[in-house]
Amino acid sequence: MSATTSTPDLDTRPAAAAERPVPGGPVSGQPVPGRPVLEVEGLRVTVGRGRTEAVREVSFTVRAGEAVGLVGESGSGKTLTCRAVLGLPAAGVSATADTLDLGGTDLLGLDGPGWQRLRGSRLGAVFQDPGSYLNPSLTVGRQLAEPLRAHGGLNRTEARRRAVELFDSVGLRDPEAVYDRYPHELSGGMLQRVLIAIAVGGDPDLLVADEATTALDTVVQAEVLDLLARLRTERGLGLLLVSHDLAVVAEVTDRLLVFYAGEVVEDGPTAEVVASPAHPYTEALLAVAGLGDHRRGPLPVIPGHPPAPGEAPTGCRFAPRCEYAAEACTGAPVALLPRGEGRAVRCRRADELTLGPERPATT
Amino acid sequence: ACGGTTVAPSGSADAAGSSGTLKWGWALPTSWDPVFSSAGWDVHVLSLVYAGLTKLDESGKAVPALAASWKYDADGTRLTFTLRPGLAFEDGSPLDATAVKKSLDRGRTDPKSLVAPQLTQVKQVLAPDATTVVLELSSPDYQLPNLLAGKTGLVVNPKAFEVDAAALASKPAGAGPFSLVSYVQNSKAVLKRNPQYWDAGSIKLENFEVYPLPDAATVVSGLQSGQFDVAQIPGSQVEAAKAAGLEVQEIPSLVVAVLDVNTTKAPFDNPDVVEALKFAIDREALVKTQLFGHGEVNYQPFPKGYVGHDPGSEDLFRYDPDKARALLAKAGHPDGVDLTLTTTAAQGLPEQVQAQLKQVGIRANIEVIPAAQATQIVYVQHSKALFTDQFAGRDSAAQAFQVLFGEQGLMNPGRSTPPELAAAVKQVSRTPLDSPDYPKALQAATAVAVRTMPNVFLYSVPRLLARRRSVSAIPAFTVVQRFEGVKVG
């Protein structure tokens, strides 16, 4: 069965491949720290036949070695944003942007083969439910070796050797045995490691991890998060991490984007945002999450529901649920304005309010 | 078995001009053993590989075949055949009187023989010398030379049935114009010219292939595309065949369409109803629609031109719906009558007959029975009142009478024969075929039969043969189709 795929049908780039560092080995050609690997400006995503705007005006930058987190309630547009970056909009979804740049490559107007060259080499992704992203009838090793051969121009034995090394580098024990396993023979944690190995196999500049740890239990989740952190420092990888679990994001990321109803409502260094949120929604979110606080106590909630796409109010979208909402909040759309060093917030009353993490939200 | 397609022109010194292959779309036999063949139409194919003491000429008269001559004794109970000298079976073994005797005896005495009933009057067969065969009869019967031209008289090589009689079913052993090279059931039979045949000189075809008859819808395209050289076609395809550049021959045959009537079943237990039935049918219309005009209205079992055809019975029951209605009323059915018309294929004739009967108040309900069960249901159990049938004719006229009208007659479901008819038929059997009285006796019997018997004859069905232009005309044999003189190419 394994004898069939012999020739990669893409342009193979043996020269480039040969230069690629072996995972775990000395990191060469590492991007200059701080060099942007992903620049997004004015991203808009519409869904459905009515082209309802589900994400609007999203701008952010991921630098080499930096981890950027996207947080927000369910349905706030985190996945749509990631998929737009990955060039994988679902059926009925379309994305436009002013800038969409991956380390110098303009992603806008990239054609099929262009995306192919990026994916599996400079762009990697991991999702929730890792098992479903692997072909159930091929061994996981073969699925890792396949892009190595297609993109890296390795031959069968080289690809296998490299794949085993990669498996080893993501902390899979007995990588030789894992190579010949089928997806259903591996646990969720192992599958997520396999996906990560595949994602970093092409030595990407950017790794997108959308809810990559959500279905895992805490022990495994912690292991996977550690792995991501390690890869980031070792390879200078830019990480875009999505989760609705603020605790996870707070622990892993450098920067934080808080999404609400398709908009970024707050943007800033994670530690600062967590310590002193500037937007009432961020504050509520922090309060609700109760970061790492294992004490009995009243459980705070944010009253009401986030609006469905297209049904958000014209003014501040959070206003109907905001305990600080005032007359001014409902009129015109609110702009995302810079606030201090490297921070921005989308709130009319940002300057008037003093918000804090410990302030419990309304019950 | 017999291998390959290699054409062997060996030993055909007398086969000057024989060549080519004729592909005939007809029907393959139920068995290649004439004694066990169970279908009437098999005789055409069996006659390709077997020969009889006699054969029938184009008009149906017995003429010499293996026997160069024959003669009856004075009281008609002893028939002596004189064989041609030097006859041989296809495998080369001699065909002498002993062989003929063994073959006839097998047909008479084999417990499963299907021809035995036709030979019941033969007391014994003698072979006094190599070329003389004597049949001793229990009663005078001048029909035997005719009868022996058919399946009953086809001579089978004793060597074959003495060794393995069952093998004959797929491997004929005869002395006919052709011999079988290969046979695939339901597919085709490949024959080659038999140089040993007594009349091999008149066989101009080197090879002969027989195929099952194709569907009416595709037969013409089969001929056009060269799948067949000759094939029987239905009347509806005549125009198409001609349009496709094929030659179409209309050969008169003994086949006649007929309704079998069971006079023991109501309402036919009343003779007036039977007569009403005869008048109620518009045979002209039937010929027009069923045969597309290629055929003739007929009120009797024999076609025009055959010795048995009675000129006095032409137009006997000309379509007369009023009379039919009157007869029905007379029979006590003024408001019409209900009956069941049994058939094996409902489309066409039965539909039309049904519609015609409706005109005179006979409400016929069509019932379809499987063709194979027809024998059992209609002929053996006599359980049906009215059945659409076709009579294929017989080699001997007396035999035809027996089948149609005899007390044990297959197509006489009522199982009764009026004495005057029996007498007339007896007279036929007792009249030598070459006697000048013979036609008169036969026609008299026909006249009695059509007036006293319930069978409703409808029309004669010609044998419609379409052929490619490369094939010379097919001789018009009324009873058994023969291919003497036919050429290809």
Binding site: D9, S137 | S170, S187, S225, P370, A372, T375
Partner: protein, 344 residues
């Protein structure tokens, strides 16, 4: 849906069953048990069909001259005076040894008739199967490449159209066009494969094509549906994310997973191709099993009816086993089995 549904390993219990599953004695035994049971049940049905018919050999063989004594003699000769179960037992017993009795009508051994007819069906069905697979998968894949695109709509329309035509209309249409109008191929008849392969092909092309169109349409539709479905699955996205080309994703990943239902459809069309081609055989004058059995049915030749049905069932069962093996080969990992707990 196939005959002996081979137990496709599924569920937690089978989670560990990997590609060696095909060869484990347990599943092999189960497959065999299934196949044998199906065969037995089919043979009961087949035999029962003859048994409930009131047909008897006397009617077929003796015809017009039958007397009650004759009928009784023949019934005895054919063993019809024994109890049904005994008849069934000896019939099946002989059948598995290759003896299907003798035709009532021609007195030829049924086995011989079938042996003569079967190659016709097998070679024709084989060719038709080839056509069906080639045409069907080409059309199905082409349509799935761009769901809703022009090609997709053309293929779908064509499949729908083919599905609405009775088989004989297709066959006669092909004859009229190819054999009569274009005079490319003969309109009917048959030359055995072992006699002259080239001639065989000339004769077989048209009927095989007529036979295959329906199956091809079925395969195309099924393949298209499952391909489109599979392309939406996460693992297809996963393959795309690995930077594989569309072609590679389709052929290397999606096709093998999506081919299952199409292969099943293929398996289901085997009975149609082998025994169900009555109309095609009739129109093209092929001396196959279906013709044999149609004729036998018309003549109430019970041994032949039973024999042809039984042999067809056997062939179909074998074909089904092949399909099942094919499915397993396509899908060695017994997909959808949830990951066994504690595998770390």
């Amino acid at each position: 849906m196939s005959g002996a549904a081979l137990p496709v390993p599924a569920g937690r219990a089978a989670g560990w069953v990997a590609r060696r599953a095909v060869r484990t004695p347990r599943s092999a035994g189960r497959v065999l048990a299934s196949a044998v049971t199906v065969f037995l049940l089919s043979s009961v049905l087949t035999f029962g069909l003859g048994a409930v018919s009131d047909a008897n050999p006397a009617a077929a063989v003796l015809g017009e001259t039958a007397t009650p004594a004759d009928i009784a003699r023949l019934d005895h000769e054919f063993g019809l005076d024994r109890p049904l179960w005994a008849q069934f037992g000896s019939w099946l017993g002989h059948a598995v040894q290759g003896d299907l009795g003798r035709s009532w009508f021609t007195t030829l051994p049924v086995t011989d008739s079938i042996t003569a007819a079967l190659p016709v069906d097998l070679s024709m069905a084989g060719l038709a199967l080839l056509f069906a697979v080639l045409l069907g998968s080409a059309a199905g894949i082409a349509a799935a490449l761009r769901p809703g695109g022009r090609l997709d709509r053309v293929v779908t329309a064509l499949c729908t159209l083919l599905g609405t035509l009775p088989a004989f209309v297709v066959a006669i249409g092909l004859i009229t066009l190819v054999a009569v109008q274009l005079r490319l191929l003969p309109s009917g008849g048959y030359v055995p494969l072992d006699q002259d392969p080239a001639e065989w092909l000339r004769y077989a092309l048209l009927p095989a094509l007529a036979l295959s169109l329906d199956a091809a349409a079925g395969i195309a539709r099924q393949l298209r549906t499952s391909l489109v479905g599979a392309l939406r699955e996460n693992y297809a996205t996963g393959a795309v994310m690995r930077g594989l080309s569309r072609r590679r994703v389709l052929f290397g990943h999606v096709l093998r997973n999506a081919a299952g239902p199409a292969v099943t459809v293929l398996g289901m069309s085997v009975p149609m191709l082998i025994g169900g081609a009555v109309v095609t055989e009739r129109i093209f004058n092929l001396p196959g099993i279906a013709q044999l059995s149609l004729r036998a049915a018309e003549q109430h030749d019970v041994p032949v009816i039973q024999g042809t049905l039984l042999v067809t069932v056997a062939v179909v069962l074998v074909a089904n086993l092949a399909v099942d093996a094919g499915l397993l080969a396509l899908n060695p990992a017994a997909r959808r089995a949830p990951s066994p707990a504690g595998a770390r």
